[in-house]
């Protein structure tokens, strides 16, 4: 099944599978993930630790280290499939068209080079300017990301900056070539809450200014609520639900999404116990057959032993679950066939 390249789409992932062979078996970190991002859109990717969201991002950037591999699927950027590019061509994409920032600003910057020089390196690489111009631009970028006294900071080393400032430096570095897509992998998780707010504000401002798409990976639903236009929920290497942010928060369909939202304690609510999703994430080397969530699902039914298809719950809202769009069990004999499911997935990419 192929999907036509859609000019409105900046990035289209189609059935990406990234596997890691280990001594104890093959870990299917990403197992059939499809998603798409429009120009200027912010897509939130949500899921627990280990669900494959970071690996998906690294797969897009083709930064998966041996022995892991993207074994199948396609990543369409414009009219090119990133997986078919040569190493040099891919390098050209990295940093220039797609930039990525990571979770730990403390260890993500090289400790022996000054902040300014690290940004200037990116500038010189992508814009082909001289050393001096690149250094000046680096100072500009530092100012743009809201670092006070940028000239002095540019000559300082990462360990001399606070966590929040380091993340700003990372953002400055990523944005230096004006990429069309910024992949942010848990950018605020390692930061204090107040700094978190500042960084998110910064990202919003930059997004406005540069008309930049963002793929925001996080397990923090609050961040999603604040930043995302659309949301992809992942579980155990697969996408389980996709929709716009309002729908996901107000009318989640997949039991996992429901569980995630229910577990957020709300102000003003009086409870004795917190809601939890019972059980733990399945061992990637020992995945259950059928629906991967069935052992933790309060709605589990016998049909869940077969892998559930994507169902269109409403316009632009799909969910990988046997439950009907209304939330009830499927009538016997009416389980959607494979073709119907595929059509629904196709409809997903177009309808958005």
């Amino acid at each position: 099944m192929t999907v036509r390249a859609d000019p409105q789409m900046l990035l289209q992932l189609q059935d990406i599978r990234t596997y890691f062979p280990t001594q104890d078996g093959i870990v299917k970190a990403v197992d059939g993930v499809s998603l798409s991002i429009r120009h200027g859109e912010t897509l939130g990717v949500v899921g627990e630790s280990g669900c494959g969201k970071s690996i998906t991002a690294l797969s897009i950037m083709r930064l998966i280290e041996r022995p892991g591999r993207v074994v199948s699927g396609s990543i369409r950027l414009g009219d090119r499939d990133l997986l078919t590019l040569s190493d040099d061509e891919m390098r050209d994409v990295r940093g220039k068209t797609i930039a990525m920032i990571f979770q730990e600003p403390m260890t993500s910057l090289n400790p022996v080079f000054t902040c300014g020089s690290q940004i200037a390196e990116a500038v010189a690489l992508h814009e082909g300017v001289s050393g001096r111009q690149a250094a000046a631009r680096a100072v500009e970028m530092l100012a743009q990301v809201g670092i006070p006294d940028p000239k002095r900071r540019a000559d300082e080393y990462p360990h001399q900056l606070s966590g929040g400032m380091r993340q700003r430096v990372m953002i400055a570095m990523a944005l230096s070539a004006n990429p069309e897509l910024l992949i942010a992998d848990e950018p605020t998780t390692a930061l204090d809450v107040t700094i978190q707010a500042q960084i998110l504000e910064l990202m919003k401002a930059l997004r406005e200014r540069n008309r930049m798409a963002i793929m925001l990976i996080t397990h923090d639903l609050g961040v999603i609520a604040e930043m995302a236009d659309d949301v992809v929920v992942m579980y155990a290497g697969k996408v389980v639900e996709t929709s716009d942010v309002i729908t996901v928060f107000e009318q989640p369909h997949h039991p996992y999404s429901k569980g995630l939202l229910a577990s957020i304690p709300r102000l003003g609510q009086k409870r004795h116990r917190l809601e939890v999703i019972k059980g733990v994430v399945p061992n990637p080397l020992n995945l259950p057959t059928g629906c991967l969530f069935k052992r933790r699902c309060p709605y589990a039914m016998p049909v869940c032993d077969t892998p559930p298809p994507f169902q269109q719950v409403s316009s632009g809202h799909v969910s990988r679950c046997w439950l009907t769009p209304e939330g009830g069990p499927p009538a016997v004999g009416e389980a959607p066939s494979r073709e119907v499911a595929e059509e629904a997935a196709a409809a997903l990419s177009v309808a958005q």
Partner: protein, 320 residues
């Protein structure tokens, strides 16, 4: 930084005193004395007593120690600061200084080649981890590291000097060719090769380990995500960090430049400090032995300090 160095030097003083006391005790409390070989029926006891008095050996130990220790440090300007050798009466300081250049040549050249060869090998092994080249490097390095230097020296001598006659068997210069640089190089070849083989085996492992650890770091992932070419990531971002422990290791190797070659020098009859040290022990030439120990100990202290200073120079995160 200057204050740090000063502080370390002051801290070193008790250690130096400790070294001197221990070596003094080992030397003077041991059975026998340097004049045993002179003792025979033909030599009257007064002559021996005279000798002992000349060398100050008749004085109580603490007095001897203080006299020796205080005189020791005047060596930069005083040729008799370290006393006179019992074997030939020459000033100890001159005897030792005379031999220093030979040992420095041997160790210095070996260290140079070791580092120049080991670093690229280590980088290669790390960058191509798990590949065939890496596995071969690791195996060869492990075996090389296990080779005792003196046996390797003997074997090299046997193959290249004795059997194939490509290199000379011993010494530093051929007769009548003293000062000839080419001749020196020819004589240096085998001993340097011996030390270099074992040295490369060790250093390449360190380099590889350091490089591996650096390549796993987050900032390397960032560098790649920026779109940098692989060579740039490795040789600029990774190497600069991986060299930090190597540089400090160089500082720690400094003492070995003077003290490390005793056995190799013995195998190749190289006229360096090692030979002097060993023969002075055999002859119980106490002044020479003591001077050796003090020199060696001081070098170790300086080497440690150098390693720490270099660390601060190379790693911007370190501030004293």
């Amino acid at each position: 930084m200057a204050r740090y160095i000063a502080r370390r030097l002051i801290q070193a003083i008790p250690i130096i005193i400790g070294i001197s006391i221990i070596s003094f005790l080992i030397v003077y409390l041991s059975p026998g004395d340097p004049f045993d070989r002179f003792r025979s029926n033909k030599v009257s006891p007064e002559v021996i007593e005279n000798l002992r008095r000349v060398y100050g050996l008749d004085q109580p130990l603490p007095v001897q120690f203080v006299k020796w220790f205080t005189a020791f440090w005047s060596f930069p300007w005083n040729p008799t600061a370290w006393g006179y050798s019992i074997t030939d009466g020459l000033p100890v300081r001159d005897k030792i200084f005379e031999r220093i250049p030979s040992t420095l040549q041997l160790m210095g050249v070996s260290l140079f080649f070791t580092v120049v060869i080991a670093i690229p090998i280590g980088i290669l092994g790390a960058v191509r981890q798990y590949s065939w080249s890496d596995k071969i490097i690791m195996i060869v390095a492990t075996i090389g590291y296990a080779l005792p230097t003196f046996w390797l020296g003997i074997i090299l001598k046997q193959i290249f000097a004795a059997q194939l006659d490509i290199f000379p068997l011993f010494g530093k210069y051929s007769f009548g060719k003293e000062g000839d640089v080419l001749d020196l190089a020819w004589h240096l070849a085998l001993p340097v090769a011996t030390l270099t083989v074992v040295g490369v085996a060790g250093w390449s492992r360190y380099m590889r380990a350091s490089m591996l650890e650096v390549l796993r770091a987050d900032y390397i992932r960032t560098a790649r995500a920026k779109g940098l070419a692989s060579s740039r990531v490795i040789f600029k971002h990774a190497l600069r960090n991986a060299l930090i422990p190597i540089v400090t290791l160089l500082g720690l190797t400094v003492p070995a430049l003077l003290t490390g070659a005793a056995i190799t020098e013995a195998v190749f009859t190289w006229p360096g400090l090692g030979g002097l040290g060993v023969s002075s022990v055999v002859d119980r030439d106490y002044p020479v032995v003591l001077a050796f120990v003090m020199m060696g100990g001081s070098m170790v202290i300086i080497g440690n300090l150098l390693a720490d200073v270099l660390y601060a120079v190379v790693d911007p995160r370190i501030k004293y």
